[in-house]
């Protein structure tokens, strides 16, 4: 079958979509396993979002050394190039077509033209998109000076442009806090970090940043309105109660020329939805088995397209796992299991991946809690698994290893819960 005879056709075992840490790790591993791989990325450089994450804190697990984002990316890129993995930058995927389990066609555009790729498997590692102002209910004037944190970071740390002088940041997750530091270091005045929840969203070490630069943190507050003429001039902040409802009469204005939205990420899975991949509403990413295969056979997913991670190390690890899945899929014409054990969410578990376990191999579960707790046990009652944890926070992903033998004892499902010890 030749879907578009006029478009040049390339042929590969695996096509990796996305040149960030998940995609690069997947391509490297797939190549090491002897597969013919092509990697596509829409940026004009490899690394995904890492080249602009110039702060340290990356790689402690994966490379056993603390690196900055660009350094982490460069190490993976070097491996990729040394192994001779084919890749194309400035390549944008238009469509994935799923003809049968081992016959997929991916159409992409690039500066040298449009191409289609015949491939047996796809590893989707396109990352995430940022939630924007309209998505979090901010109204007002449509003025310049409203950026997502990632946009502001690209401007500052790739292009060397300071996006504003007086900045209000929405969201106290790690990204928001790290951007607060960058703005302050570069001489902008960060007038406030506004956080909806009653606790900071980021790691404690990043919350310290606000103290370093005397930046006020408004917990239990939200930005509801932006006003300005041409450019942001002021933003309206309102207090919220424990049900996150606005407290009448509590509003106040902050003068600022820039509003930076750091309100979380959403897996970028539009191209997967179009081919019917089942999505987990809790993660926003696909439902997957323990090889990170989606509900469409031969379509694998890794990194922030799967679930929003807080460590790049886990992202790269997922890329490798997806590549191993692709290898098994191609060799056996599918990922087979005698039985699939479903992973269910118990008390205080907001999300958990993967969703189905075969019990034929060891697996890492990645999970997030719904609310912070101290002195807890992570438990899986069906198999009598208990793990003590001093502190759990929604901002910190928990990663637990399950042995194949443990999963084999399960009957149909496993419930993961976080309860008081």
């Amino acid at each position: 079958m030749e879907p578009f005879p006029e478009i040049p056709m390339l042929s590969y075992d695996v096509l990796v979509i996305g040149g960030g840490p998940a995609g690069m790790a997947a391509a490297v591993r797939a190549r090491e396993l002897g597969l013919k791989v092509l990697l596509l990325d829409e940026n004009d450089y490899l690394g995904g979002i890492l080249p602009q994450c110039i702060h340290p804190g990356f790689g402690l697990h994966y490379f056993r050394e603390e690196l900055t984002g660009p350094e982490f990316a460069a190490r993976l890129a070097k491996k990729l190039i040394e192994l001779g993995v084919e890749y194309r930058t400035s390549a944008r995927v238009l469509e994935i077509k799923n003809y049968s389990d081992l016959e997929k066609v991916v159409i992409f555009t690039s500066p040298s033209g449009v191409y289609q790729v015949w491939t047996k498997a796809v590893i989707y590692a396109a990352g995430a998109r940022e939630r924007h102002a309209f998505e979090i209910g901010i109204v007002g004037d449509r003025v310049s000076g409203i950026y997502t944190a990632g946009e502001a970071q690209t401007l500052m740390d790739i292009y060397g442009i300071l996006p504003g002088k007086e900045i209000v940041i929405v969201g106290s997750g790690d990204v928001g806090l790290i951007m607060a530091r960058r703005f302050a270091l570069e001489g902008a005045k960060v007038k406030a970090v506004v956080e909806l929840m009653p606790y900071p969203g980021g790691l404690a070490r990043n919350v310290m940043i606000l103290k370093d630069f005397n930046i006020p943190l408004y917990l239990g507050h939200k930005v509801v309105e932006v006003r300005g003429k041409g450019r942001v001039q002021r933003v309206k902040v309102v207090k919220v109660d424990e049900n996150l409802n606005e407290v009448p009469g509590s509003e106040f204005w902050i003068e600022a020329d820039t509003l930076v939205i750091s309100a979380g990420l959403v897996p970028a899975v539009k191209n997967l939805k179009k081919i019917g991949v089942e999505i987990d509403p809790a993660t926003g990413g696909p439902v997957v088995n323990d090889r990170l295969e989606t509900s469409v056979p031969g379509i694998f997913v890794a990194g922030n397209s799967l679930v929003i991670n807080d460590l790049v190390d886990y992202v790269a690890e997922q890329g490798e796992l997806a590549a191993e899945g692709a290898k098994e899929f191609i060799d056996n014409g599918g990922i087979e299991s005698r039985k699939w054990v479903k992973v269910e969410k118990g008390s205080n578990v907001r999300l958990v991946v993967p969703h189905y376990l075969s019990g034929e191999r060891d697996v890492y579960l990645y999970l997030r809690v719904a609310k912070p707790m101290e002195d807890v046990e992570l438990g899986i009652p069906e198999i009598g698994k208990r793990l003590k944890l001093p502190v759990v926070k929604p901002a910190e992903m928990i990663r637990v290893k399950l042995k194949a033998e443990e999963i084999q004892n399960a009957d149909g499902k496993l419930t993961v819960e976080v309860v008081k010890a």
């Binding site: 450089y45 080249p51 110039i54 702060h55 340290p56 900055t68 660009p70 350094e71 460069a74 500052m156 740390d157 790739i158 292009y159 060397g160 270091l185 570069e186 001489g187 790691l203 404690a204 070490r205 919350v207 310290m208 103290k211 370093d212 001093p390 502190v391 910190e396």
Partner: protein, 115 residues
Amino acid sequence: MTTYRFTCIVCPLGCAIEVDVEDGKVLEVKGHTCPRGKEWAVQEVTNPKRVVMSVVPVEGGALPTVSVKTAEPVPKEKIPELMQFLAGIKVKAPVKIGDVVAEWEGIKIVATRGA
């Protein structure tokens, strides 16, 4: 006596640490759960230091800037001075990761991105 309260940043546990200081001398450290935390807390009140990262413009590179970091932690109160210095530098491509692009008061400024 002054009591400083902060969250330890040495590891993800994030212990709540209290340090009692009088006349610039540390009297007591409370709340830490490991020796590294105690050491860090003492440094944090006596001579806080940070590794500083930024970008500097690069001529003739694939991207307009190259990212840099200090090879060692810098005393916190000297950071604005260091940033002023960094604002004045410009480098020429090619730059490799790990290249020393400048030196400031004996501290090496190292490229963390190629250009």
